[in-house]
């Protein structure tokens, strides 16, 4: 089996670029655009199971993802920027998820939260109705493991997504880069 190992102690994404007011000093238009997009990720109200509760905890006062400008949760995909797939996706739900993702205007991002959305998790084996990972349906930008992940882990995923948007890299670019780094 081909086993991949994460290099120890990668730099923490949140500290790579200082976010404080950096936007107005940036020179190129692209950077401004990416700065705005990364700091204004409005999530779609989408949760299917346990992870949705942890997502609510993240929204609640103790963890408060509104600090990132994240709190404007929209109930309609037309105004949302990011889907947090919080929970298991089953075969019956898959077309709905695809439809929701399709109906979102560009640019759109996806965070797969928890084991179920990442890979099927506890329902990987011996079940007849669970989709083994949301990336079989829609492209996923950031995966976060855990069952369910702590609120801090979701915030970490969010910061990781922000880094990705700021860098402007596409999914393919990241894949190639990872291959180059031998990861």
């Amino acid at each position: 089996m081909d086993v991949k190992v994460t290099p120890p102690s990668e730099p923490f994404p949140g500290t790579v670029h200082p976010t404080d007011g950096g936007g107005i000093l940036l020179s190129t238009l692209d950077d401004v655009i990416n700065w705005a997009r990364s700091n204004s990720l409005w999530p779609l109200v989408f949760g299917t199971s346990c992870c949705a509760i942890e997502m609510m905890s993240t929204a609640a006062a103790k963890y408060d993802f509104s600090r990132f400008g994240f709190e404007v949760a929209r109930a309609t995909p037309r105004q949302a920027d990011v889907i947090i797939i919080a929970g298991t996706i089953v075969n019956k739900m898959a077309p709905v998820l695809k439809r929701l993702f399709d109906q979102m205007p560009d640019p759109k991002y996806v965070i797969a939260m928890g084991a179920c959305a990442t890979s099927g998790g506890p329902f990987f084996y011996n079940t007849y109705s669970v989709v083994k990972g949301a990336d079989h349906i829609i492209p996923v930008d950031v995966y976060v493991a855990g069952c369910p992940p702590r609120p801090e882990a979701l915030l970490h995923a969010l910061i990781t997504l922000q880094e990705k948007i700021k860098s402007g890299a596409t999914r393919d670019q990241i894949r190639i880069e990872m291959k180059d780094n031998g990861k």
């Binding site: 493991a145 855990g146 069952c147 970490h156």
Partner: protein, 160 residues
């Protein structure tokens, strides 16, 4: 008519009182910023202490000689409810020339793991434990499949 009017105005009065009560409460919180309980996550990373029982991911502790305690007995693999752990064994020849089963690769699928602790309970040699890490976000899910035993690591002496 009088009773109707009386009722009418009592209703209004009570309604306004109940509404003002609610506003008083929210107004209290608005003006008392010490009630704010937000923990700022990325900034408080240095001081963030998770309880030692928190189950973040399975790790295999190695000591300074690059030795671990896993004998490759597959008890954790059997205990795991959803195939998170795969143990690949190899046969080592030890000093006396006997063939002995030893661990080759301890594959750990973090993306499948539900942190149920059953493997830790099942392990007879306490070779694995739960770590308190939680920052598992990656761009590619293949990165979540991990090899727990470090390269060239050996079984610690005295563990059967």
């Amino acid at each position: 008519m009088i009773t109707f009017l009386k009722q009418y105005f009592t209703d209004i009065y009570e309604a306004i009182v109940s509404l003002l009560k609610g506003m008083k409460l929210t107004g209290y919180y608005f003006t008392h910023h010490k009630e704010i309980i937000t923990q700022e996550y990325p900034e408080n990373r240095a001081t963030l202490n998770l309880p030692e029982r928190f189950r973040g991911e399975v790790v295999m502790p190695h000591d300074e000689n690059n030795e671990h305690a896993c004998t490759g007995c597959s008890a954790c693999e059997l205990a795991c409810p959803n195939g998170t752990i795969k143990i690949l064994n190899k046969f080592e020849v030890n000093a006396e020339g006997k063939k002995k089963k030893a661990i080759d690769t301890f594959v750990y699928h973090l993306e499948l793991c539900t942190m149920c602790n059953l493997c830790i309970v099942a392990c007879p040699t306490d070779a694995i434990k739960m770590a308190q890490t939680f920052e598992h976000s990656v761009f590619d899910r293949s990165l979540l499949t991990k090899k727990l035993n470090q390269p060239n690591s050996k079984l610690r002496e005295g563990i059967e």
